[in-house]
């Protein structure tokens, strides 16, 4: 399968260069550049503790971006991420309030709520054929409304369970944060699904041309629906981890993850039109975004400056390698 990697450049070059996606290479080059610039500012940027800490922070975004990538590969988009994250976190924390049984079921319950949101998205996109951008915006609004009614407009008082805290901040293997292990496991599963299973092939097929995929006998609507459910579930799981990290859920905790998750996927070379992209690129994008945020906050850039630099960097990088072909 790997010999037919999409986007291969004409080939007299060595195999590994020929197979590398220029976008992924650019993204990794930018990571190195950022680390270099950071190390000029302060020596501690290259210390293992700092890098591991960044990897841990990146893993929350990584889990969420994994779901987003699956949806973007289909040529759709999931704008319900903010409140899927918040719903996952709040519902997990809410379940934790119901004694030991609730605490045991907290994490699965949070994820299930996210999957429910994803399924509504999937029905809207796959069966009702509503543009994904619109239906996910609408479910986002509904999820927000539900949470506002549930919490009464205040931040919920429930706190995260021990298990959630352990997943987000613990160390099962000494020196490696659990969150990073979770991201690695989810990432590996995603790579396997995308490259080694029929489902993954269908995702790329639908992203390229849904009509063709349908005529080839793929149940495209079921695939789209599953992809949205997975995206919702992973967003909620990201929320569960974040709640464990902060030890409680908050109203607008997901707002900060919509733009970064899309940006990470797109900066990693996945085409926003679908059908093209690799998980390695998404990993690069997630690390790139996290490092950028971290460096800006270490330099004590105020929120306003961070937003501006952030937007400008994304537009600039996309102009470098994310442009559509000219219409001729």
């Amino acid at each position: 399968m790997s010999e037919t990697t999409i986007g291969g450049i004409a080939g007299r070059m060595p195999k590994f260069i020929r197979r590398a996606d220029p976008a992924v290479v650019t993204a990794f080059a930018c990571i190195v550049l950022l680390l270099f610039l950071g190390s000029l500012y302060s020596r501690s940027f290259l210390s293992p503790e700092y890098l591991l800490q960044q990897l841990k922070v990146a893993s929350f975004l990584g889990v969420i971006a994994t779901g987003m990538m699956l949806v973007i590969l289909l040529g759709q988009i999931d704008l319900s991420v903010p409140w899927s994250v918040a719903v996952g976190a709040m519902m997990a924390a809410a379940a934790a309030a119901y004694g030991p049984v609730g605490a045991a079921l907290a994490i699965p319950f949070g994820i299930c709520c996210g999957i429910m949101i994803g399924i509504v998205n999937g029905i809207g996109v796959a069966y009702l054929r509503i543009p994904s951008m619109i239906v996910t915006l609408a479910t986002n609004a509904v999820a927000q409304g539900l949470m506002v009614v549930y919490t009464g407009g205040f931040s919920p008082q429930d706190s995260a369970t021990g298990a959630m805290r352990y997943l987000a901040t613990g160390f099962a293997i000494p020196g490696v944060p659990n969150a990073v292990i979770i991201w690695a496991v989810i990432g590996a599963a995603m790579v396997f699904v995308l490259t080694r299973t029929g489902f993954g092939r269908s995702v790329y097929g639908i992203g390229n041309r849904e009509r063709a995929a349908y005529l080839s006998g793929i149940d495209t609507r079921r695939v789209v629906m599953i992809a949205f459910a997975v995206s919702g579930g992973l967003s909620a799981f990201g929320g569960v981890l974040l709640a464990g990290y902060a030890s409680k859920a908050a109203q607008s905790m997901g707002d900060a993850y919509l733009l970064p998750s899309i940006a990470a996927v797109v900066l990693g070379g996945t085409s926003i039109l679908g059908g093209r992209g690799s998980y390695l690129g998404t990993v690069a994008g997630v690390i790139l975004i996290t490092l950028l945020q971290s460096i800006l906050s270490v330099m004590q850039m105020p929120e306003a400056g961070r937003q501006i630099i952030y937007g400008v960097v994304i537009v600039a990088m996309l102009l470098l390698y994310g442009r559509a072909p000219a219409s001729r």
Binding site: A141, G145, V148, V315, L318, G322
Partner: protein, 326 residues
């Protein structure tokens, strides 16, 4: 077919939006404790026109088969800018208004340049530029504050001859000055053609790039007019992320309710205006029925979900299943 039938078919979405609005507004005023008075209409129109301006802005871009997820942020940015500039003597105020509108036009033009000449996807590009615009708004107003020329503000938010809300008149004027000339010009036709079928429009020698660019730029201008009016209503500037996002979201809802096709090439800003007014009225219905305001976000979300699901009825008209997949 006769001419009026064509006209009716073309305006079906707009007329439907008008009908929804009239029904909703009738229910609203019938149950309002004060009834159908000039005061109630003025308050409702002042709230409605803000969304109407932003929805018009969204319509222009949606017609070209694009989407502008930064309209809410342009709205917020121009609100913050107006709270600094639209103040002082008549001349200074006039300069401030021009500067605010110019900023909106510039923001829209930047979006247009990135999407059309930079060839980026409108979704990603406008989310990113939206972050930049919000950052600038936050620089201008780290904390809510500022002030505005109150004479002008009161004149534009009050009533003309004691009956007609001035904001509605302003909305009408903007439609006459911006939308009508645009939709009848070559550029407006080009924007419609580009949204309907970009390839066919290109082959026919239609100036699609200029048409789309004009649409994005004018969208920025209309969002700025909305931002200006927000300042007139609140007398302050406030860089609120949630409110900017909400306006972006509601503008899409209003556009859908107003019968504008999200696939481009179909619909009119007039429809979007009625869509916006209807959406606002539906949101306010809860208050006249004495519901807890906590339920409002959920109610609006459900209405939005239902409104967008209505588009699925088109599936029943599909004869060939392949037409499901665009």
């Amino acid at each position: 077919m006769k001419d009026w039938r064509y006209w009716l078919a073309e305006q079906r979405g707009t007329l439907l939006a008008l009908a929804i609005f009239i029904v909703m507004f009738a229910i609203y005023t019938a149950n309002h404790p004060a009834g159908f008075t000039a005061n109630v209409v003025q308050t409702a129109s002042n709230k409605g026109v803000l969304l109407a301006f932003v929805a018009m802005a969204q319509t222009l871009v949606v017609i070209t088969a694009g989407i502008d997820l930064s309209v809410g942020m342009i709205f917020t940015l121009t609100n913050c800018l107006a709270s600094w500039l639209v103040i002082g003597t008549g001349l200074e105020t006039a300069f401030g208004v021009v500067a605010v509108l110019g900023t909106g036009l510039l923001c829209g033009a930047i979006n247009g340049a990135i999407v059309i000449y930079g060839r980026l996807q409108p979704i990603v590009a406008t989310i990113a530029t939206g972050a930049v615009y919000f950052g600038i708004a936050l620089l201008l107003r780290p904390f809510p504050g500022g002030s505005v020329n109150e004479d002008l503000a009161d004149a534009l938010t009050g009533r003309l001859f004691g009956v007609v809300p001035a904001s509605l008149v302003a909305l009408f004027a903007v439609v006459l000055i911006v939308w009508v000339p645009f939709s009848r010009s070559v550029l407006g036709r080009a924007a419609y053609a580009a949204g309907s079928s970009e390839t066919a429009a290109y082959m026919s020698g239609v100036p699609i790039r200029r048409g789309k660019f004009a649409a994005y730029a004018l969208a920025g201008l209309l969002a700025a007019i909305g931002g200006l009016f927000l300042t007139f209503f609140t007398y302050t500037g406030d860089a609120a992320y949630a409110s900017g996002n909400a306006y972006t979201l509601f503008s899409i809802a209003a556009v859908v309710l107003g019968g504008v096709s999200l696939f481009g090439g179909k619909g009119s800003a007039i429809g979007a205006i009625f869509g916006a007014l209807a959406f606002r009225t539906i949101g306010d219905l809860l208050f006249v029925f004495d519901f807890d305001p906590l339920w409002q976000p959920l109610f609006q979300g459900v209405i939005l979900l239902i409104a967008v699901s209505l588009g699925a009825f088109a599936l029943f008209r599909v004869r060939n299943r392949l037409e499901w997949f665009l």
